[in-house]
C-alpha cells in the first residue's frame, strides 16, 4: 500500500521524525527525533507500525492534508480536534482514509506536539541512517525543513505484512491518555556541573517555579523565573550535552536542551531532565509553569524502567482486543445487566441486545462564529496587517504571530470588513484570545 499526503496547509512546524540519529553526536550531528517519545510510540503502535517508523510531528497549529491513495492513519500526543472531510475523528485511534479525503487538524486542546502516523511509515530518504529532520542542519526528513504548502509526503507500505493486513480499529483506552498537572513537576538528576553553582543557586533551581517562555522550540526551552546563582561564572570548557540538559548561562535563567540541541555547550549545566519526563515537558506551552525535583541516579534508573514498562503496557493495550464488561445498572427504575465495551471515542453499550454508541462530547471549538478571529496558539503579535474599516477576502493576511520562534500568519476565513482590532505589535496573546473582529459581508 503506497500513497502520499499532500499538504494543503502545512501547519506551524510539521517535520518528519523517527527515533533520531544517535551515534553521530561526535561529528556534531544532533540526535533529533521526536520531542515526545511517548506520543510518538503510541502513534506507531496504533497503526501497527514498528516502534521506530517515521511519522509527522505536528506543532501547535496542525496541517490540512489531502490523502492520496488509501491509508490507515492515527494521531497521538497533544489533543488536536481532527476531522476527515468534515467528520470528526477521535485522537488516539487508528482510522481509514480514502483517496482524496482531506484530514484537517483543528484546535489544539492541550499540549503542543502530536504525531501523525501512517501504516508503513513516512517514506523519505535515510540520512545518516535516520529519517528524522535536523532543522538547524537543514538535512534529514523532508529535505531538512518543515512541511510547506504543496509538498507531497510519500507514505510507503514498506512492510507488506503491515500493508496487506486487514484494518484493525486500534485505539488507546481513555484511562491511559496523558494527564498533566500545573505546575508540571519535572524530575532531574543533578550534574554534571552542579558543583559550579552556589548552594543557594541549587536551592533556587529546585525550589522555584519557572515559566515556559515563547523562546521554546526543538533546540531548547528557555524558562523564566528566579535567577540561579553561579559560584564563579557560567563559562566552562565546552563538553557534551545529554538530552534534557538544563544549562544556565550568565543571566541565571535555565534553558532545557531538547532534541535538536547542539551536541556540545560551553555553559554550566546544573542538571538533566530524566528521559521519562521529557515528553511532558515537550507538551508544555509557553506561559505554563514547571518545577524541578532532584532524583538520585538509582531513583532515575527506576523511573526509566517504569517508563519503559509503561510504554510496553500502552503498546499492548492498543493491540489487545477491547474488554467487554458487564455492569448492573438501574435503567428507568429497573435493574438491568448491560455490556459495555470501550471503542475509539467512547463506548458501545449493549442493553438487552440493542447497541448504543455513546461518544465523548468534544468541547466547543475555538473560533466559534466567523466574526471573532482568535489566536490559535500562545504567542506574540509581530505585525498587524489591517486596520478597522479594511475590507478583507478569505485568505487575507490579518495578523502575523511569533509562536515558539516561528512565524505564523492568521488569515481571514470569510469576506467582510474589519470591525475592531484588539492587538498591536508586541501584544502577548493566549490561545483563543481575540485578535480582531470581522463583520461578514
Amino acid at each position: 500500500m503506497s500513497g502520499a499526503l499532500e499538504a494543503l496547509r502545512p501547519g506551524l512546524c510539521s517535520t518528519v521524525q523517527d527515533l533520531g540519529r544517535p551515534g553521530f553526536q561526535r561529528y556534531g550531528v544532533p540526535a533529533s527525533g521526536p520531542m515526545d517519545e511517548w506520543g510518538f510510540r503510541v502513534a506507531n503502535a496504533l497503526v501497527g507500525n514498528a516502534p521506530g517508523n517515521a511519522v509527522l510531528e505536528v506543532t501547535a497549529i496542525g496541517p490540512v492534508l489531502r490523502v492520496r491513495g488509501d491509508a490507515v492513519l492515527a494521531v497521538a500526543g497533544a489533543e488536536f480536534a481532527l476531522d476527515l472531510d468534515g467528520q470528526p475523528v477521535p485522537p488516539f485511534a487508528a482510522f481509514r482514509a480514502r483517496d482524496g479525503q482531506v484530514l484537517t487538524f483543528g484546535e489544539c486542546r492541550s499540549g503542543v506536539r502530536a504525531y501523525l502516523s501512517a501504516a508503513g511509515g513516512m517514506d523519505v530518504p535515510l540520512v545518516m541512517r535516520s529519517r528524522a529532520t535536523c532543522l538547524s542542519g537543514r538535512y534529514g526528513g523532508l529535505e531538512g525543513r518543515p512541511l510547506r504548502a504543496g509538498d507531497v509526503l510519500p507514505i510507503h507500505g514498506r512492510d507488506p505484512a503491515v500493508a496487506d493486513r486487514p484494518f484493525e480499529a486500534r485505539f488507546l483506552p481513555r484511562r491511559l491518555w496523558p494527564r498533566r498537572g500545573s505546575p508540571l513537576e519535572v524530575r532531574v538528576v543533578m550534574g554534571p556541573q552542579d558543583d559550579l553553582f552556589t548552594p543557594e543557586g541549587v536551592a533556587t533551581f529546585l525550589g522555584s517555579e519557572y515559566r515556559v517562555t515563547h523562546d521554546a522550540d526543538r533546540m531548547g526551552y528557555r524558562l523564566d523565573g528566579p535567577r540561579i546563582a553561579h559560584r564563579k561564572g557560567a563559562d566552562i570548557v565546552s563538553d557534551a550535552t545529554a538530552p534534557g540538559t538544563v544549562q544556565v548561562p550568565g543571566d541565571g535563567r535555565p534553558i532545557v536542551l531538547m532534541g535538536d540541541r547542539q551536541t556540545t555547550g560551553g555553559y554550566t549545566k546544573i542538571a538533566a531532565v530524566i528521559r521519562p519526563d521529557i515528553p511532558a515537558l515537550a507538551q508544555a506551552r509557553p506561559g505554563e509553569w514547571v518545577c524541578f525535583r532532584a532524583l538520585s541516579l538509582a531513583e532515575a534508573h527506576a523511573a526509566l524502567a517504569a517508563f519503559l514498562a509503561g510504554l510496553r503496557d500502552v503498546e499492548a493495550a492498543v493491540t489487545a482486543p477491547p474488554a467487554r464488561s458487564t455492569l448492573h445498572v438501574a435503567l428507568d427504575g429497573q435493574r438491568r445487566a448491560v455490556e459495555v465495551e470501550e471503542i475509539a471515542g467512547g463506548f458501545l453499550v449493549d442493553v438487552g441486545g440493542r447497541e448504543f454508541e455513546v461518544l465523548f462530547a468534544t468541547p466547543a471549538e475555538v473560533g466559534a462564529g466567523p466574526a471573532k478571529v482568535q489566536s490559535p496558539v500562545p504567542g506574540v503579535v509581530a505585525q498587524v496587517h489591517v486596520a478597522p474599516g479594511a475590507a478583507v477576502v478569505p485568505g487575507a493576511r490579518l495578523v502575523t504571530l511569533l509562536a515558539m520562534k516561528l512565524q505564523h500568519d492568521v488569515t481571514a476565513g470569510v469576506a467582510g470588513r474589519v470591525a475592531a482590532v484588539h492587538v498591536a505589535p508586541g501584544s502577548e496573546v493566549q490561545a483563543g484570545e481575540a485578535l480582531l473582529e470581522i463583520e461578514p459581508a
Binding site: R26, Y27, V29, G137, Y139, D239, A240, A242, T264, L304
Partner: protein, 229 residues
C-alpha cells in the same frame, strides 16, 4: 580523572582541567578503547576538549560496572594499540572575494596579508572536538600573533567552506550559517557530507593543515566561485 553524571543515561569522564593536546589525546584514546572493548549497553561516546561523554543504556549496563571499566582502561591507555590520528589538508584560497576580512586581520595584527597567510597556514592544528553544527571543528594552535576580535555583529550568511579567525580561535564553516568570525579564505574540501559515513573528514584527535592554493586551483578542484557576501 573525575566522573560526572549527565542524566540517567550519561556518564562524563573528565581527564583534565584545562585544554591541552595531551589531555585531549587521552580522551580520544579512552573513547576508542571503550568502543574496542565491545561493552553491551554502551550506546555512544562523544569526545570533547578534556572529557569523554559516555551514553549508555542503564537497563543493560550498570553504571558502577561502567565506571570500573573506565578506571581499568584509563590505567593502561598507553598500552592499548590505537589507530594513529589522521592529518587532513584543507586546500584554501586566501583573500579576495573569498576572504573579505584578510585586510582587516592584517591591519589589526600589523602584518602584511602575505604574512597572515603564511602564519595561518603553517601550523598543524589539533582537532579538539566537533560541535556547534555538524562537522564544525574546534581547533587548537592558532598563533597568538593572529588573534583578532570577532565582528561586533555577525554576518547573516557566511558561505560554506569559509575559513576564519574569531578571537584566539580559528576554524572553517562546514555549511552556510550566520557567523561573526573574520573570514580570511575558503576551502574547497568538503567538511560535512551527509551521504558519507563518517560525514566528516576529521574526528576529535585528528590534525588539520590549511594549504594555500590559487583561485584557479580552487576552482579546478570544484570550489564554488566566490561572490561578495
Amino acid at each position: 580523572m573525575r566522573f560526572r553524571i549527565a542524566g540517567e543515561s550519561g556518564l562524563v569522564v573528565e581527564l583534565g582541567a584545562g585544554i591541552s593536546v595531551r589531555t585531549n589525546t587521552r580522551v580520544r584514546a579512552l573513547g576508542l578503547a571503550l568502543e574496542q572493548a565491545g561493552i553491551p549497553g554502551l550506546a555512544e561516546v562523544v569526545p570533547t576538549y578534556r572529557s569523554l561523554a559516555i551514553y549508555y543504556d542503564p537497563m543493560v549496563l550498570d553504571v558502577d560496572e561502567l565506571k570500573a571499566r573506565v578506571i581499568e582502561l584509563t590505567g593502561r591507555l598507553e598500552d592499548i594499540p590505537l589507530p594513529p590520528p589522521r592529518t587532513v589538508e584543507l586546500p584554501t584560497v586566501y583573500g579576495g572575494v573569498y576572504g573579505p576580512d584578510l585586510s582587516f586581520v592584517a591591519e589589526h595584527t600589523r602584518l602584511t596579508e602575505a604574512e597572515v597567510i603564511r602564519l595561518h597556514s603553517r601550523p598543524l592544528y589539533h582537532v579538539y572536538a566537533l560541535g556547534f553544527t555538524g562537522g564544525f571543528a574546534y581547533l587548537g594552535g592558532l598563533p597568538a600573533r593572529l588573534a583578532t576580535p570577532r565582528r561586533d555583529s555577525p554576518r547573516l550568511r557566511v558561505p560554506e567552506g569559509s575559513v576564519g579567525i574569531g578571537g584566539q580561535q580559528t576554524g572553517a564553516h562546514p555549511m552556510e550559517t550566520p557567523g561573526g568570525w573574520r573570514i580570511i579564505g575558503r576551502t574547497c574540501a568538503p567538511l560535512f557530507d551527509i551521504t558519507k559515513e563518517p560525514p566528516t573528514p576529521v574526528e576529535p584527535g585528528d590534525k588539520i593543515r590549511f594549504v594555500p592554493i590559487s583561485e584557479a586551483e580552487y576552482l579546478a578542484r570544484g570550489g564554488t566561485p566566490g561572490e561578495p557576501f
